[in-house]
Symmetry: C2
């Protein structure tokens, strides 16, 4: 049984005076940060936090976000990191669904607090974790830390709930994925065993959003490696280039869209990026041209790719640095999601859930201690997703004879745009709420930066004179901006349907569409 | 929850046609070996093996020993690997204590079977796993494999018992250390995360005894890495040099005594050892001169050191290759047992079990999923050893500010000779059974090859005229040869005693002794 606060104790033991966090002009050592975490945990407990209680956070990246993850675990609670790109309606849904009793917000989200509180009755405590002046109507993060003596660690571990990570749902509602201490810890160990081995003087740059499980994984793994965690509030290519140079960052993770903006930035050559030793990427397929460009522009930097999903805490396969071969034998592996990792089992099954031979396409399923505890308050959906101990990923793929996984399709009909998952159904539901729409389908079409762009095909009702812009504006009222179509094609002919009456999206995909 | 057969399935998935085992002139692939394991598991079940049932094995190294580990796990049982250097009395004790119902023996131990069966009533089945002619009175390993269709894996996992590993006891009786699937699996993951990272085309040479947990750990870890396992029946320096060359071995583990015989062998230069990439050592402190010599003679080979004990499945700390620095800053770390590993917590406590500051000597204790389930049938001893979830190692040491552990003494008064643990108390008990002895103390004194040599200080009873050789001969009748004193000093003065009446061994240790 692992507990996620163990790396803190080990870091204090082995690296007490090494910097743990660097943000703005604040540098703190592992012993300082661990004491602050224990004090904040005491404050959470004093405010009534009980084991398993959810603590939500809506904030850009900061050293305090890092501390909050650990303080919630130290105090025995479960963290609920909220997507900063959601609209208020979506945020309220997650706050309400998770029954979070506390909410931490930074300056960027202070203004929406009244709207969130109005929509959600569970929140008893709101804490301001930003840089600005303390607000009289909110608790202050620093006052909480200052006012309490360090608490004893509650030592939650194993299958105890560590967090609810919300992910878009095929039904249109985000689902709270329940992840455990063991799941997150063992995923981190698996990553270390595969690609992210021990290296002295690691400096990990958190420029990817800390609410994302991909970055949370690096909070866990980076701390196991006793690395220094440096943060910038959010990814912006120039700020990120500057941060690598300033912090002498050795590590960072990227989604392909971020990486493209980073390596193709006009000022790229003006920065000293020689510290970058290892970068990870994932969350959507990497265009080979971008991978080649990255390897050429950062010749001293090794790359690894992770594949998985929130339900897998999140890692299942990894393409290790030595498998990043541009030419000749092995170069075809760049199209894969890497090899199955040692902390879980990954296999391909047919429609009756029987394993298929190597090379055969089927659904990817995974079992092991990294599989989620389940979907929060959704036992039926959990039972559909975890069958005989195996997590059905909903992705289609095959595994070759050397154990490399190739993901060929996403059964759940998901678009990955700029590293964010967009479930078509959710966008389609939003579009169909417009009274002028008769039929619609949402698909991903290739985009240079976003990898995929959300594209809607719409058939208006007879007599309706709706425009493309009206449809986009309508979506923005209902769902987060990143989910809204960037392009709309209005058709007058009905969309092709399957025998079961579903839109045949494969007939609409880029190579078939006219738009 | 991990199960120890998972690596087999992953190896078949990713390396079906890669050689899994090489022994004598037999080479078998992962798919062949896994099928044989499943067939042997079926034979065990057909012979009545139930979950948790113990299967003992008394044999030198072979491919079949490798298969047997996995077949027992596949069938749901617990393996009991017997020390091949024990005398019959000790072997019968372990067979009897473990209540093993099956015993596998190879050619080297066929002759002792009648004596073992006479002393132990639990054994229902004896299987001959050797190379020679099948014996009519024993089951044949190959017939069992041939006669059964592959069984379904019983999928034992987590805290389920995987094996009883017998270790010398301070009370003079070996104790069965109960290790679980999770414990052994997670120790392997920890090793991979720390030093033994994924590398293609590993060939692991099993020349250390496969009954030892150190080698069993490499069976587990090597299979997670899908490496080829090559075996020789037992360590012998020339055979080992030949095997490295023949199998192009990339990896092996050594105790310091083996390593000294290996690198100092007169024919060392006649062998092509260029394949050796990484060697591990442990089980006793490594003399710095030997380490230096090894690094000079094998300049292309990286080294790592593991520290732990059977009760820890067995790993707790590791000195990684990058910490093997001969000169200048960091070179003092060669005297350490390495850094605490990420799969468990290691700390130092005082006599009241309170943690002490960095640099302070105290008892080493460890907690984590690698801690044993307990001592077999010894709940009281287990409760003394695992206190508040922490395993008390009985070793004394300190941890420096960079998290490196230095082992300074063995509280349990253990001598490590040639990589074998010899508990002084056990030897003292044997000596005291001689009627002519009034008082005795057994200590380790330095030895070039064995690192420590068992040395006895004896005070005869008044009037007794016992000789040194008589004492040594007497010991050979009672305990295994490797435990017997190699040297004896007869004293006429009483040995110095502590206030509590115990012999003050620190007054007798090498720098104080005259012998």
């Amino acid at each position: 049984m692992f507990n996620l606060t163990q790396p803190l104790r080990q870091a204090v033991q082995a690296a007490a005076d090494v910097l743990a966090t660097r943000f703005l002009d604040r540098d703190r050592t592992w012993s300082e940060v661990t004491e602050r975490i224990a004090r904040l945990a005491a404050a959470l407990i004093a405010r009534g936090l009980k084991p398993d209680d959810r603590v939500a956070v809506l904030a850009l990246n900061s050293d305090r976000y890092f501390e909050l993850y650990y303080a919630v675990w130290w105090a025995g609670g479960a963290i609920v990191p909220l997507n900063t790109r959601w609209n208020d309606r979506e945020t309220v849904y997650a706050l309400d669904d998770s029954e979070s009793s506390m909410l931490f917000v930074d300056d960027a989200f202070l203004e929406v607090v009244p709207a969130l509180l109005e929509g959600c009755g569970h929140i008893r405590t709101v804490v301001h974790m930003g840089e600005g002046e303390a607000r009289e109507d909110l608790l202050s993060y620093e006052s909480m830390v200052a006012a309490h003596e360090p608490a004893e660690d509650t030592m939650r571990a194993g299958d105890d709930l560590a967090g609810l990570f919300y992910t878009g749902g095929t039904t249109g509602f985000p689902k709270g994925v329940m992840l455990s201490h063991d799941g997150l810890y063992i995923s981190g160990l698996g990553g270390m065993a595969t690609a992210i081995s021990d290296m002295p003087d690691y400096v990990f740059l958190h420029h990817a959003p800390m609410f994302h499980l991909a970055d949370a994984m690096m909070i866990v793994t980076g701390s196991m490696l006793r690395c220094t965690h440096a943060m910038i509030p959010q990814f912006e290519p120039k700020a990120s280039l500057e941060a690598v140079q300033r912090f002498r960052a050795t590590n960072a993770i990227f989604v392909p869209t971020m990486l493209a903006m980073f390596v193709r930035h006009p000022d790229f050559d003006q920065y000293d990026l020689s510290s970058l030793k290892l970068i990870g990427y994932g969350a959507s397929p990497m265009p080979t041209a971008l991978l080649r460009e990255t390897m050429e522009r950062l010749p001293h930097t090794e790359l690894f790719q992770g594949y998985g999903q929130t339900e897998l805490s999140p890692l299942a396969t990894m393409l290790a640095p030595e498998d990043h071969v541009l030419e000749g034998p092995g170069s075809e592996r760049l199209k894969s999601a890497g090899r199955v990792m040692p902390h879980c089992e990954t296999e391909i099954v047919d429609e009756s859930l029987q394993p298929v031979p190597s090379g055969t396409i089927g659904q990817i399923r995974v079992r092991g201690p990294n599989v989620m505890l389940g979907y929060w308050k959704q036992p039926a959906l959990t039972a559909e997703t975890i069958v005989d101990g195996w997590l059905l990923t909903g992705d289609a793929g095959y595994i070759d004879e050397a154990g490399f996984l190739y993901v060929v399709d996403r059964v759940k009909d998901m678009i990955v745009s700029g590293g964010e998952n967009v479930y078509s159904v959710e966008v389609e539901n939003a579009i169909m709420e417009h009274e002028g729409i008769g039929q619609c389908a949402v698909i991903g079409i290739p985009h240079e930066f976003w990898v995929e762009q959300v594209h809607a095909l719409v058939v208006p009702k007879p007599g309706s004179e709706i425009t493309e812009q009206e449809i986009i504006d309508h979506c923005h009222e209902h769902i987060a901006g990143y989910k809204c179509p960037r392009s709309v094609e209005i058709r007058r002919e009905p969309l092709p349907l399957s025998g079961a009456g579903k839109v045949l999206k494969r007939e609409l995909r880029p190579d078939k569409t006219t738009g």
